[in-house]
C-alpha cells in the first residue's frame, strides 16, 4: 500500500485540526442569494471548509463555479470539497470530494485521486465501519434529527448514533441533518466537533454572522473552559 502523499496528509491535518462548521452550498435554498455570495459570507465568517453541492448547473457552469470556489477558498486558507463530481474536483484542483451512497464507490475514486480527501455518507453503523477500508478520509453521520414536517415521514438516526458510529472507525467524522444551533452543546458533549449544515446557513438572514455564531458554539463545546474572543 502506497503511503499517503505529503499533500494528502497536509489536507487531512487541516481537516482534523481546523474544521468546525462545515457549510454545504445549495443556491436554490439560499433565499435568492448566489453560491458566490454565500461563499464570500461563510469564508468571512471563518469557515475552514466549504462544500460545493450543485446538481442543477450544466458542466461548464459548474466547473467555472468550482474554479471560483477554489480561488476564494485558497485565498482564505480553507479546504474546498466538491460534492459527487470527481471530474470537477480534479479539474478545479479541489482538496476533496464528498460521495453519497449512490455516488461513485470511494475505493475506486481513491485509486484515481490519491491526494484528495474523500468524505462518505454513513447512514448505518456498517457504512461507518467500512469507510476507512473503502478509502475514505472522513465520514458523515446523519440525519441526526427529525426536521419540521407534516409529512409523516420521520426517519432519522438520532444523536446516539454519534457514539455508536464513531466507535466503528478511527476516521474523523462530521454530523448532519436537522441540527440547530441550540443542539450544538449537546452534540459537542457527545464528541461531535465538526457539523455540516445546509439551510442553517443558506437561509440565515446574515450568513457571515451566523457562521461565526456556529463556530463560537462548536469551539465552546469542544473546550468549555475556553474564553471566546
Amino acid at each position: 500500500m502506497t503511503p499517503p502523499s505529503p499533500l494528502y496528509q497536509q489536507r487531512l491535518i487541516k481537516f482534523i485540526e481546523q474544521v468546525t462548521i462545515y457549510p454545504v452550498s445549495c443556491e436554490k435554498l439560499a433565499c435568492g442569494r448566489s453560491d458566490e455570495e454565500w461563499l464570500a459570507a461563510v469564508l468571512a465568517g471563518g469557515a475552514r471548509i466549504v462544500q460545493l453541492r450543485d446538481k442543477l448547473s450544466d458542466d461548464r457552469t459548474l466547473l467555472a463555479k468550482a474554479q471560483l470556489f477554489r480561488r476564494k477558498t485558497a485565498e482564505a486558507g480553507a479546504l474546498f470539497i466538491v460534492n459527487n463530481r470527481l471530474d470537477i474536483a480534479l479539474l478545479a484542483d479541489a482538496d476533496g470530494i464528498h460521495l453519497g451512497n449512490s455516488d461513485l464507490p470511494a475505493r475506486q475514486v481513491r485509486n484515481l485521486a490519491p491526494d484528495l480527501l474523500i468524505g462518505v455518507s454513513a447512514n448505518t453503523r456498517e457504512q461507518a465501519a467500512s469507510a476507512k477500508g473503502r478509502g475514505a478520509s472522513y465520514f458523515n453521520i446523519g440525519p441526526l434529527f427529525p426536521t419540521a414536517t407534516k409529512s409523516g415521514l420521520t426517519s432519522f438516526i438520532g444523536e446516539e448514533a454519534i457514539a455508536l458510529f464513531s466507535a466503528e472507525s478511527n476516521l474523523p467524522f462530521t454530523v448532519m441533518g436537522g441540527i440547530k444551533l441550540e443542539h450544538v452543546p449537546r452534540l459537542t458533549a457527545l464528541g461531535a466537533s465538526r457539523i455540516a449544515v445546509v439551510t442553517a446557513l443558506t437561509q440565515a438572514e446574515n450568513i457571515e454572522e451566523e457562521t461565526r455564531r456556529w463556530i463560537v458554539a462548536i469551539n465552546r463545546g469542544k473546550d468549555p473552559g475556553r474564553k471566546q474572543k
Binding site: L29, K55, S102, N123, T147, T149, L153
Partner: protein, 218 residues
C-alpha cells in the same frame, strides 16, 4: 420512455429514501407511474435531494397551473419544496417557506412579488392534491394546456389555423416560412410570430381529445 424513467427513479430511491419510508414512498410513486409531470418531479427530487440527506416525497399539491406548466409543492420528510414542472422537465425552485425568488417564475404565475407568493403559500393545506395530469380531461393530454389556453409550440394536438390539420404534421409551416426545414431558434421564433399573427387555435377540451378511432360502437 416513461417505463425507463420510472425504473431510474426506483433506482435513485434505493439510495435516497430512508428504509423505513420506502414502502410509503414507492406507493406514492406507483400512484403516478403513468404521469410524466409527476415523474419529472420525482426524478428531479430523488436525483438532487435539496438538503443532501435521505428524504422521501409523501405528497404533491398544485399551487398553480398555466400554459402546461405546473407549480407543484412536494411535501417531504424535511420540508415543502416548490417545483415548476412541464411534460419536458422539472425545475427546483426552493423551499415553499421562503416563497418564490425567481422573477421570471413570479411573473409567469402572476405573483406581483415574492412577498405575495409567500402570503399565498402560507396556508399550504388549502391547495388541492395533485392528481395525474394525463387523467384530467380538461387538460391537453400532451402539453397540459388548460381549456382555452394555447398549446406549447410543438404540441401535436395543436390544430393548424391555415389548413385545420395537425400543426406538427401538415406542411403549412414550410409554405408559410418559405423554408424546407425549421432548424434553429430563429426559424421557430419567426414561425411562432406568423402563427400568432394568423391566430393560434387554443386547446378545446371537448373538440381536441385525441383518441384511437373506433368502429362507432361504445
Amino acid at each position: 420512455m416513461i417505463s425507463r424513467q420510472l425504473k431510474e427513479i426506483k433506482l435513485l430511491m434505493e439510495y435516497a429514501v430512508p428504509a423505513d419510508d420506502r414502502q410509503q414512498a414507492l406507493a406514492l410513486l406507483e400512484e403516478f407511474s403513468g404521469d410524466r409531470i409527476a415523474l419529472n418531479l420525482f426524478h428531479a427530487f430523488y436525483s438532487f435531494l435539496p438538503e443532501g440527506l435521505e428524504d422521501a416525497i409523501s405528497g404533491l399539491q398544485v399551487i398553480a397551473l398555466k400554459q402546461g406548466i405546473f407549480l407543484l409543492c412536494a411535501t417531504t420528510g424535511i420540508d415543502n419544496y416548490l417545483y415548476a414542472v412541464s411534460q419536458e422537465q422539472a425545475e427546483f425552485l426552493g423551499s415553499a417557506a421562503n416563497g418564490i425568488w425567481d422573477s421570471e417564475v413570479l411573473e409567469f404565475f402572476g405573483y406581483a412579488s415574492r412577498e405575495e407568493s409567500l402570503r399565498s403559500l402560507q396556508d399550504l393545506p388549502r391547495f388541492p392534491a395533485y392528481s395525474p395530469a394525463n387523467a384530467d380531461t380538461n387538460l391537453c393530454p400532451v402539453c397540459s394546456a388548460t381549456n382555452g389556453e394555447f398549446h406549447t409550440l410543438g404540441c401535436p394536438v395543436e390544430v393548424c389555423p391555415w389548413c385545420g390539420g395537425q400543426l406538427t404534421h401538415c406542411t403549412c409551416r414550410f409554405t408559410i416560412t418559405g423554408k424546407d426545414r425549421l432548424t434553429d431558434e430563429d426559424d421557430l421564433e419567426s414561425f411562432h410570430a406568423q402563427l400568432t399573427n394568423k391566430g393560434r387555435i387554443p386547446f378545446d377540451a371537448k373538440k381536441q381529445r385525441p383518441a384511437y378511432p373506433t368502429d362507432g360502437q361504445q
